[in-house]
Symmetry: C2
Subunit: 344 residues, 2 copies
């Protein structure tokens, strides 16, 4: 005894008009003549019956799905580590909802199994694609772009000329390290957030180098370690730095999550932060200010990143001109205790 689905046909019958008219009225089709009276009759009938257009039927006819997909091109570790991502998603889905779009989530771990998300496109399941953490070994991406499929990267892919929204990682890292230099440090370690295959990781590394160069400090590979998203990797990396004959007096850890591991290692070896080792993190996770010591870090506009990406994508889909193909958002250095600045 399941309630039968209400179709536009039912609405038409109740209002005493044709299905065409119903469609015209409900979609507010311009340049079409419908008397105010029938218009009201149709609206009322639709309301009374609780009519909802069938999404599949509609998208079959209009060739639009009003659905976006967010592809998370990254491992489980990464998804999890990123409180950051949750905020990006919040921004994305807020704008999407505002403009009448749904958000499909498509995480996948299998490197190279990118066929998976291409099927979303070739089955006409979505109107546009947001790819987070794109990798340069993904061959499908440039292809999709060449075909003109609406696409926005969260992050960057050098070489490819694809619409993207990102944070200026290099500038942010530069400022973080420059701050440490200003505080008098001359031997500064680096623990990256991730392996260098990730462009965000490379960019932060580049910012680190720039700051050193500008201060005429030499780049010393022996104080550089590579984290991989999670605290454990920071714990281990800091352990290695401390085992050096001549450890740095400060370290830039390009991820808060990783920095927490580093702090644990320092505590374990009874080294005081910031007195014996100054630390600057990256991300400004919600916990950063409640850590002991509270963490100096770089704040990312995660929510806004999502908003801008969704905005850009929907504009592309709807054929509007977009002002800039590459949006770089600014970051903010949040100074707390772990770097040893005087409180401001």
């Amino acid at each position: 005894m399941a309630k039968k689905r209400v179709t536009s046909h039912d609405v038409a019958r109740l209002a005493g008009v044709s299905r065409t008219t119903v469609s015209f009225v409900l979609n507010d089709v311009p340049h079409v003549q419908i008397s105010e009276e029938t218009r009201q009759r149709v609206l009322e009938a639709a309301e009374n019956l609780g009519y909802r257009p069938h999404a599949a039927a509609r998208s079959l006819a209009t060739r639009q799905t009003h659905t976006l997909a967010l592809v998370l091109y990254q491992t489980a570790d990464r998804i999890m580590g990123d409180a950051f991502l949750a905020n990006v998603v919040r921004g994305l889905s807020e704008i999407a909802q505002q403009r009448g779009f749904r958000l499909l989530l498509h995480p996948f771990e299998g490197i190279g199994k990118s066929e998976a998300y291409v099927s979303l496109v070739s089955e006409n399941r979505i109107d546009g694609l947001i790819v987070s953490g794109p990798r340069s070994d993904d061959e499908q991406l440039p292809e999709l772009c060449a075909e003109g499929f609406p696409l926005v990267l969260l992050g960057q892919l050098n070489g490819a000329d694809i619409n993207c929204v990102d944070v200026d990682n290099t500038a942010a890292a530069y400022r973080a390290v420059a701050h440490l230099i200003k505080l008098g440090h001359t031997r500064i370690g680096l623990i990256t957030n991730a392996p260098l295959e990730y462009t965000a990781s490379t960019d932060r590394w580049r910012g680190y180098c720039q700051a050193l160069t500008e201060a005429s400090l030499s780049y010393d590979e022996s104080v550089v370690r590579y984290g991989s998203f999670v605290a454990r990797s920071g714990y281990q990396a800091m352990g290695e730095l401390l085992a050096l004959a001549e450890p740095p007096s400060a370290t830039f850890v390009a991820s808060d999550e990783v920095a927490v591991g580093a702090l644990a290692a320092l505590h374990e070896q009874s080294l005081a932060v910031p007195e014996q080792m100054a630390i600057v993190g990256f991300d400004d996770i919600p916990l950063a200010r409640y850590l002991v010591p509270s963490l100096t870090t770089v704040r990312l506009p995660a929510y806004e990143l999502g908003v801008r990406a969704a905005d850009m994508l929907i504009q592309t889909i709807e054929g509007e001109n977009i002002a800039e193909k590459k949006i770089l958002l600014n970051t903010q250095l949040i100074i707390r205790e772990s770097c040893g600045s005087k409180p401001q």
Copy 2:
């Protein structure tokens, strides 16, 4: 010059058969007679043309979308705080992908604006619904359930007889507090993870009470405070407990995130953990073991929670019988430094 979409018609023509036959072959329809030779011819043609069925057309015909929606019935704070949720999502989407389903993400903040997700159902956009953090003031939920729409709760809703997957919060909290009691504490504070409107919060509170009762300790409302997902709330709550004339010697904080705030407050007032205040958290966020001191906490099977929920939902959709309507998963007390146990 956009490549024209390849339809089953094209495949039929290339293979020299009818469209019906193509459909039969590609869908492996049973009890239908197709010679091995034509079968091969069709498969080959489909392969050569790179044929992909149009999702909307298909779901119009079959009345199935092969899409699930995850409704996040909670505020931005919550989404963000939960590294937990990320893992649940991982479990969900893994099973979904395995069984050929897509996952639609539908967070929403407006309490009461539940009409929003109902539209997913009434527009036939999805085959099933997973609702995380259901609230008892949601009137749509029981209604959907009564209509027989496939539904699984992540969490519980007392009163309603809806399929659900959850963690045994009461038992978990009971064990956490019992552990503190065993260590000799007789005055134990409680900081909840969230306001009591959330059932998870109530359940943990109940576990706390049970442990006290069983040890013949009296419930003292003055050492109970209500957190709300984020570290800040824990910082403040602990501040209040410390301001009491007679503060507790141990506190059960029903969320790691909130516990971090509590730890910060303790450190600020130079109280040693666990010596002057023992702490047990809840969630086992990835950072828990790297905090200073490392956090004793309750580990939740987040990933498995997602797996089971997806499994249950897809079974419901496909009309299979489900063994139990209510799945409660076990938790694990992870003993670290913050509770003051001897290392095991």
